[in-house]
Amino acid sequence: MSRAVLYDSTLCVGCRQCEEACSTRWKLPYNEKIAAEEVISSHKLTAIRTHGERFSRKMCMHCQDPACASVCPVGALHRTAEGPVVYEEDRCMGCRYCMAACAFQVPTYEWDARLPKVRKCDMCADRTRSGGVTRCSEACPAGASLTGGRDELIAEARKRIREKPGEYYPRIYGIEEVGGTAVLMLGAVPFEQLGFSKNVPKQALPALTWNALAHVPDVVVMGSVLMGGVYWISHRREEVAKEEGRP
């Protein structure tokens, strides 16, 4: 059963309890100055952003077919069976391709460290793995961040939209985005107005590179045959000359 998080912007009161809980979990410093930073960074893995009266939340979307995991040359990122996309810092060599590839600009880097690592939300994998609830969900006093099964949360989100059509923009962010994510968002207005990028593709991204990579074995086989063949043809004249004893 794939785990998921549903964030409902209409319920969020902007108290930033989720931020603080997350920082505690990662043993990261948290104070007023950090609370005021409305972007995620290597020392703040989730951020509440203000848009006038409304709030939105930024965290890793935990894509079902994550671009970050597909591009990592050493497999330092992978999606677990339960849904969370996790990072193994011992493998990472710091190429930062995951950051370049993520459609949501989620992975962040410890730019100031001499031996840096990538930082990103892991959906509290240690807790969610055994069916638990994320720290941020647990800390939320307004019930704006729920943890649960993805199908149940989608059903719940649909129900909310159906029951209070006036309060919701009738779409769930995360159902189609990059082929589906485990983090789902609800809002009162179109998601562009909540700081989410409009042109995030609807299909899963790893297929795009796979289209090219899948040709590698063919290129190797065809290339060898072609080069060998050309060599055979182009050196034929010399062979003949040699056999006939001509220079």
């Binding site: 050493v74 710091g94 930062r96 950051m99 730019w111 042109n199 991204l205 795009l208 990579l213 060599y231």
Partner: protein, 391 residues
Amino acid sequence: MIRFRSIFWPAVFALTMAGGAWAAFLRFYYGLGASTHLTDQFPWGLWIGFDVLCGVGLAAGGFTLAAIVHIFNIKTYKPIVRPAILTAFLGYLLVVVALMFDLGRPYRIWHPLIMWNPRSVMFEVGWCVMLYTTVLFLEFLPLVFEKFKLSKAQRILKFFMLPIVILGVILSTLHQSSLGSLFLIMPHKLHPLWYSPLLPVLFYVSAIATGLAMTIFESWHSARAFNRQLEYPLIKRLTRVLAVSIAVYMTMRFLDLYHRGALATLDTPGIERWLFGLETVLMAVPMLMFFRERTRENPTAVYIGVVMFLLGFVTHRLNVSVTGLEASSGVSYVPKWTELAVTLAIVAGGFFIFRLAAKHLPVFGEEEPEEAPTLPVLSGEACQPVLSRGD
């Protein structure tokens, strides 16, 4: 005047290297944040865009000429294979040096050897670059063997040369194109003037043209540096091939832009259309020049054209990897002086080592004559006068 000139270049070189060393210290002591303008929004900059992407492309002459001479058996070009292979070998070594600067944990550069992810383009590029650098080393070894008169080793290596060359061509085909595939995962980030499903093919074809251009470029320079006769009839013929390869590339590029409807974005104001214009002019002008008999007759004109084309190539690679990504990232990236200092030092180091190698190794010498193995060879020593003709 003469004294001034003899001091000027060594002084420039020493300053560049000193700047690079200081920047290297800042990079490895204080980390990437202090030594670059990279951010979470813009994780790749000059070191990836220029040092790695352009570096690999500029070193493409090695496989192009190896294929022309050893596989297609067009012997006319034989005298310029060695300089091309030397350039390529140095080029790849320098790319690895640049990577060591850019990787957050350079000492883990070997990780892809044992930690596999075959779905990753970078995994494939890493393997290909590693294997191809080994191939280039093997292709470069004959120069060393010849210099030290190791004719036995020379003959053994020669026996394996064909599979080595074929392997080199295949590996190059794979990673030259895969460098383009790296950006296939960013359809929403890369500007439509540069994002295309054809990126791998475009990268491959432009790398071939660039390999040829670099060969002309370095022949011209080493002719001056070593007071040698420029292999001009050869260069003239190569210029024709170069003109055609640029034409093939440009045609593909514009057909692709046309079919994707990307040319319509030229109406939108912004820096992108000017960069696109720059890139196009820097490639189209030399192409038209090379198609004219009068240009090909004039070494200076050929040289100017080649430099323009190389700049056009660099502009394209930087547009794909840096400037074309800026608009969507929401930040603007200008390299920090340390990034430039490291890059300049790497380029200067490349020139310096090339000169050193060209001076001491039989780079411009003849290879042993083709008939050598069929001649009655009495002993290893008998070959030596022939083998060392290069010096």
